[in-house]
């Protein structure tokens, strides 16, 4: 059954031209329909090493050269810690392709297990957030052989990290302060919504939040990205650790912004229904640091 499903798919793969433009005619729904709706997810779950090897061999045997060739043609914008990010066009829409390339320093079995798990978790968390109305990029397509995710490109956006870095924090000028206060409030609100959905981001840093310039002047929208380490959890412990990760990343990247983070937490507490337990856990987690004097 495993082999037959794969053979049934191969004609579709071979139809893809190496010319990126022809991908406009490539309809992903057809791909999934061919494999009985959800079974495209089923066949990639390989429990033992041998099946992974066979699967990888089939992928290499020319059945999905289209995707790597497509990636060669489009623009590589960043090589992050975990994945390469490309910008291109898919189905006529501006797209970001996030490719989790194999890490050569890891053992191949460990690498395959990790990248697959992270790809699946990322897509699931993004879809869950989007269903709840939280700003996250749209998922256009996922390729499980090369671990690529095709996401919506948020055009005209900068990371919150760059935004804060470029805004002077001098107390003399009031306007930048207000701008950052608004930003902190928005961040608190969006995180509250996410945690109310029981989605724990896992890697909250200011580089993983984008500011999108809205249509009306001054109205900026906050978009969360990079859900690679995310998981579903209702425990205030996990949410508290999530906020702690953000606090640490915030304070180590942008020194002297403790007041800003306080405003973020206030907005979080005001917007979330279950925030009290989470803030309490956060205070507990703060004291936990290693080699930290636990007095006071």
């Amino acid at each position: 059954m495993f082999d037959v499903t794969w053979l049934a798919l191969s004609p579709i793969f071979l139809q893809i031209s190496t010319d990126g433009m022809n991908l406009i005619n490539y309809d992903p729904r057809q791909f999934y329909a061919e494999t009985e709706g959800g079974s495209s997810f089923k066949y990639v779950i390989v429990p033992t090493g041998r099946k992974i090897q066979r699967f990888v061999n089939m992928a290499v045997e020319g059945n999905s050269v289209a995707l790597p060739q497509f990636l060669k043609k489009i623009e590589l914008i960043k090589q992050g810690a975990e994945a390469r990010v490309y910008r291109g066009s898919f189905l006529g829409k501006p797209t970001i392709v996030k490719e989790r390339f194999p890490k050569l320093y890891r053992h191949p079995l460990l690498d395959e297990k990790l990248t697959h798990r992270r790809t699946v978790q990322e897509v699931r968390s993004i879809l869950r957030c989007r269903k709840a109305g939280i700003s996250a990029p749209v998922v256009y397509f996922v390729d499980y052989t090369s671990h690529c995710i095709f996401l919506e490109d948020i055009v005209g956006s900068i990371t919150v990290r760059d935004h804060i870095a470029s805004t002077p924090l001098s107390s003399a000028q009031k306007i930048p302060e207000e701008r950052l206060d608004q930003l902190a409030k928005k961040m608190g609100q969006i995180l509250a919504k996410m945690h109310d959905e029981d989605v724990v981001h896992g890697d909250l840093t200011t580089s993983n939040m984008l500011l999108k310039a809205g249509t009306e002047s001054g109205e900026t929208e906050l978009v969360l990205i990079d859900f690679g380490l995310s998981y579903i959890s209702a425990l205030p412990e996990d949410k508290g650790v999530d906020m702690y990760v953000l606090e640490k990343a915030f304070l180590s990247t942008h020194p002297n912004t403790e007041a800003l983070f306080e405003k973020l937490l206030k907005a979080y507490a005001a917007s979330s229904k279950k925030s009290h337990a989470v803030i309490k856990k956060l205070d507990e987690v703060r004291l936990r640091g290693r080699k930290r004097s636990m007095v006071g």
Binding site: L104, Y105, H107, L110, T205, V245, S252, P255
Partner: protein, 383 residues
Amino acid sequence: MSSHSEHIFFRCTRPITMTFFQCAQVFILFKKKCIHYNSPSPSNSLAVMTVVIGFEGSANKIGVGIVRDGEVLSNPRRTYITPPGQGFLPSETARHHRSVILTVLKEALEEAGLKPADVDCVAYTKGPGMGAPLVTVALVARTVAQLWGKPLLGVNHCIGHIEMGRLITQANNPTVLYVSGGNTQVIAYSERRYRIFGETIDIAVGNCLDRFARVIKISNDPSPGYNIEQMAKKGTQYVELPYTVKGMDVSFSGILSYIEVRSGKMLKCNQCTAEDLCFSLQETLFSMLVEITERAMAHCSSQEVLIVGGVGCNLRLQEMMGVMCKERGAKLFATDESFCIDNGAMIAQAGWEMFRSGQTTELSDSWITQRYRTDEVEVTWRD
């Protein structure tokens, strides 16, 4: 500064049984020395070479090192090794340190060819580490400082590792992976502090490896981590183990409890050999470390990595980090075991930097602490 010199003068006088003439001699001798400390001008310190002696004994290694202007003159060390299957306890470790420290100190001075009068500053490990050994070493450092009439300096152990790594490798501004039996941190310098970007939220990676070595009862000589590395070279089968990276942090207690519980059964049923377990454990642990380092590098846009700490001797870790760096176009800096493992010269080197930027520790402040974070220290010698 004058009160400081009087302080030393008072402590350094010999017992009252001396004759008046002898007292006068001692007084003049120390007064001369104190005048020197009273006015350290920049031109003076540049002309005079600064020699610092460092005492390190926060874990089971006791070392005394002497550094003169970036040159390591001597660096002897002794390790307290326990029988297989046992770890080292604070009281026994302190007892071991007490029995060898004076021998090591003598060795250090002889090897460097210096007399106590040639030393300019006495540095010791203020923390973090194990309580009893730290107290033992601090006691000796305080006594020696008062006997010789030299200023005292309490140094952070982690800063010692970083400064020694920077000295030996001449790295410019690297992302530092500090991995040892007691600490696992990813550190980057920013605005007068060594900021911790990622760390372990429970136990250190070296601690995980050492405790696994106890479970499979391999020898602790020269160190459990070294023996695990040798065994791992013979391992072939990869055993799946839990992989826990939480954002920029890692967690090792889960993988340790998993392997402690399962290894007995796995070995008994011959599912895998002890070598396979060592191999799999190393692969998993080091992958986690390389991943958090890579994240910190991406976050800080850094192009250099420096590995310090006892686990940094592991060639497999260096290899994996090298592969990661090559993929990113970054440079890897690592030192050999004489500087990776706890040693006295690293405390001397950090002390040298601190002393040259004008820091000293008053006798009343020369306590030790088991809890001393790397980012608590103000780095006055870098801008």
